[in-house]
């Protein structure tokens, strides 16, 4: 039988905190990270809210433990900051002590910095330090700079499936562990805000000018966010031999495609239904065992109808407590799956259900409503975390309390 996979370390940085503890505190305080950008050069500065990490790149470099230098993009610095915490929390001082994979996720790589110098890069009359950003445009750049800084060399990969990217990174790492390729893998994603993605989603008319309102009748779209998150995954045998502190068990997952439309989900949530159902089946848990669902809940018109329908189809009249944490962090695209996987672990550890901020009015298409105020002292044993993306890419994860 394949090995069980445990979560033994977590690290993150988002608009609501530079580490896991700060994120937890802001979630408890029900304090959103949404605001307006200080760092993107855009005409929408005061128009479209974003959840930006409140540090300039120099300060991020200090958090990431490096001296600021050319070629280290904001994507890399966010990732490195989260990576350092994840390794520290897992008690890993040297990743070379055991074969350790690094599975990263990114949607636009170092676009945050390359878009600022792109027209110099393509102008043959211009020379300068900006040339060091040429190779940062792709998604592998941040992965390799993080890997080289902390010393990963065993197996590295970068995944890009839009908004489900880091959920797929976690899945890929877990599968490599189960198949015996690796005893340990650090998986997650990193995403910096860019003018490119802000205009991309805005051109799709998917961005709300107000703070986003997931699962609300009046919702009009998402707010983008930035951040990074990594989870250390270990095989059961390695974790026991290594005496690792086990935070939770990664019991189920599914990646399924809708094959419905390039950017829109199906109205009945076929992909969401399939991925939740299959992930739960793999975890060996029943519908009744699910205590909380951290929904994808982007607050776009289509996502919330589709995901809500899928919840009603799967759970019938007993839809578990659910909420979207996107009003705290914004939609962090490639990082979202890993950020929300950490929130799932926190929900289990702390007995909390996080509120779905900005909700006031039930959607007419649905019979269900999200949790709107922080719930404490809840027994949370199994959490489903959803991440759905462009291209019909749907992913669901099941994270469970570690019970020996």
């Amino acid at each position: 039988m394949a090995e069980r996979v445990f979560i033994t370390g977590m690290g993150m940085i988002t608009a609501i905190g530079d580490n896991v503890a700060e994120n937890l505190e802001q979630l408890r305080q029900q304090r959103s990270g949404l605001g307006y950008t200080s760092y993107i050069d855009t005409i929408y500065k005061q128009v479209l809210p974003v959840a930006e990490v409140k540090h300039p790149n120099d300060a991020l470099a200090a958090l990431a433990g490096i001296t600021p230098r050319e070629g280290y993009t904001r994507t890399t610095l966010l990732g490195l900051t989260a990576m350092r915490e994840a390794l520290r929390q897992a008690g890993i001082t040297d990743v070379q002590t055991a074969p350790t994979g690094f599975i990263n996720a990114s949607t636009v790589g170092g676009m945050c910095d390359t878009e600022k110098v792109y027209f110099d890069i393509v102008d043959s009359s211009k020379e300068g330090a900006f040339l060091q950003y040429i190779d940062t445009l792709d998604c592998a750049d941040c992965t390799q700079r993080i890997a080289d800084t902390v010393g990963f060399s065993e197996h590295i990969a970068t995944i890009s499936t839009a908004c489900s990217s880091s959920a797929n990174a976690l899945m890929f790492g877990a599968r490599m562990i189960k198949q015996g390729f690796l005893p340990r893998a650090v998986c997650g994603g990193t995403e910096a805000l860019t003018r490119f993605t802000l205009n991309g989603f805005n051109s799709l008319k998917n961005v709300d000018k107000q703070f986003c309102r997931p699962f609300d009748q009046q919702r009009t779209g998402l707010n983008l966010g930035e951040g990074a998150a990594y989870l250390v995954l270990e095989s059961e045998s390695f974790a026991r031999a290594n005496n690792s502190r086990i935070l939770a068990e990664f019991t189920g997952y599914c990646n399924a495609n809708e094959a419905f439309h390039p950017t829109s989900p199906s109205p009945e949530g076929d992909g969401a239904y399939e991925s939740m159902k299959a992930a739960l089946a793999m975890s060996g848990r029943t519908l009744k065992d699910v205590d909380y669902i951290n929904v994808h809940g982007t607050a776009t018109l289509n996502n919330d109808v589709s995901e809500g329908k899928a919840l009603e189809r799967l759970f019938g009249n007993d839809v578990p407590l659910f909420s979207s944490t996107k009003p705290f962090t914004g939609h962090t695209l490639a990082a979202a799956g890993a950020i929300e996987a950490i929130y799932a672990v926190l929900a289990i550890q702390q007995g909390l259900i996080f509120p779905n901020l900005n909700f006031t009015e039930k959607m007419e298409e649905l019979n269900i409503t999200p949790v709107t105020a922080l719930m404490e002292g809840v027994s949370v044993n199994n959490v489903i975390s959803n991440s759905f993306g462009f291209g019909g890419n749907n992913a669901s994860l099941v994270i469970s309390k570690y019970e020996g």
């Binding site: 855009t42 005409i43 929408y44 990114s106 949607t107 878009e115 792109y118 027209f119 890069i121 393509v122 043959s124 040339l131 040429i134 190779d135 792709d138 998604c139 592998a140 992965t143 390799q144 890997a147 080289d148 990963f152 060399s153 065993e154 197996h155 590295i156 990969a157 970068t158 995944i159 890009s160 499936t161 839009a162 797929n168 890929f172 599968r175 490599m176 198949q179 003018r195 490119f196 205009n199 991309g200 805005n202 051109s203 799709l204 990646n255 399924a256 495609n257 809708e258 094959a259 419905f260 439309h261 390039p262 076929d270 992909g271 399939e274 993306g389 462009f390 291209g391 019909g392 890419n393």
Partner: protein, 338 residues
């Protein structure tokens, strides 16, 4: 399997096609007629890499004889450069207003996967790897894991395009040879840089051989920024019974020593290089695997494709493919005749 490449590899008797060569330092794809594969109204919106990716995927399914496609897993280093460049430019040009979302959607790295899934109604697992010279190889690893987990088959491939703008950008950091180089003389012109290429390659993979099986993948290793010793140790693992070596050597003097190490480790075993056929790009390794499988399946070597060789190797039964992307991502594969 199927390949769109700078050579005439997409249809017909590919091994009788003449060698396509250039002295522009950029080998461009020979694009087929897309109409038999993609509806005209979709075709109009699609950019080049989407067309070559989707068409190659569909052709490989036709070629495989497999009825129902399972998981779809791909690798691409750069995705749709044309759409990325277009959207960056339009943001600037139209001052962030009234933008057409199509280039943004198509610039998303998993857009080709989404299109394939839509067209073949592929609702199973779907993943896209975007890691330079490990993009296709991680897709291959993922596919092998899926087969081990019980998937009936996988559609596994890679796609890459080179635009004029990106060719210029990469020339600024030494990717290409500064002097015009005849692609047929790539291996004699040792100097910093290589020649650029592009292409799409797809395979249908199964866990067990069937009547249409072309070759078997029996060995696989990826090494990230390895030392020379690690490369040598890696290659040695696959030494037994290899009767042909396919190398990704590309005329780049900065990283030629890795290939010379393979020369030294396998004295007397014939070699074929393939970068004068595909050009260098993030997923050229997929073209190498296609060529290896063709050589094993057809049991012949197209002599006209290798004018630089004095002796054309005989048909092979076990091929070692060794490739690396600018010295960083090294991959080794063993392919065998079925």
């Amino acid at each position: 399997m199927a390949a769109i490449s700078p050579q005439s590899t997409f249809e017909g008797d590919v091994f009788s096609a003449p060698l396509v060569h250039t002295d522009s330092n950029l080998l461009t794809c020979m694009e087929p007629d897309y109409k038999p594969f993609i509806p005209a109204n979709s075709l109009r919106r699609m950019t080049r890499v989407l067309k070559i990716g989707l068409t190659t995927a569909l052709q490989s399914i036709r070629d495989s004889g497999v009825e129902a496609i399972g998981p779809i897993v791909t690798g691409t280093g750069k995705g749709s450069l044309q759409d990325t460049e277009k959207f960056i430019r339009e943001i600037e040009q139209y001052k962030e207003t009234a933008l057409n979302p199509t280039p943004f959607i198509q610039s998303t790295y998993n857009s080709v996967n989404g299109l394939i899934a839509l067209q073949v109604k592929g609702t199973a697992y779907n993943n896209t790897f975007v890691h330079r010279g490990f993009s296709f190889e991680n897709a291959l690893l993922d596919s092998m894991m899926l087969l081990a987990e019980g998937a009936p088959n996988t559609l596994t491939g890679a796609f890459e395009e080179m635009t004029a703008e990106h060719f210029y950008i990469k020339s600024r950091i030494g990717f290409w040879k500064p002097a015009a180089t005849d692609s047929r003389q790539l291996y004699e012109q040792l100097s910093p840089g290589s020649i650029a290429g592009e292409g799409a390659t797809f395979f249908v993979l199964t866990g067990k051989p069937g009547p249409d099986t072309k070759a078997a993948l029996t060995g696989f290793k990826m090494l990230y920024k390895p030392t020379a010793e690690k490369v040598a140790a890696g290659l040695s693992v696959f030494k037994d019974g290899v009767d042909l070596i396919l190398t990704g050597r590309n005329g780049d003097s900065r990283y030629e020593h890795f290939y010379q190490q393979a020369d030294a480790l396998f004295p007397g075993i014939p070699q074929l290089p393939f970068k004068h056929l595909s050009g260098e790009h993030d997923t050229a390794g997929a073209f190498g695997m296609w060529l290896a499988a063709q050589l094993l399946h057809r049991q012949q070597v197209p002599a006209q494709w290798f004018p630089m060789l004095k002796d054309i190797p005989a048909a092979a039964n076990r091929i070692l493919l060794y490739n690396h992307f600018y010295g960083e991502q090294h991959t080794m594969m063993v392919l065998e005749r079925v």
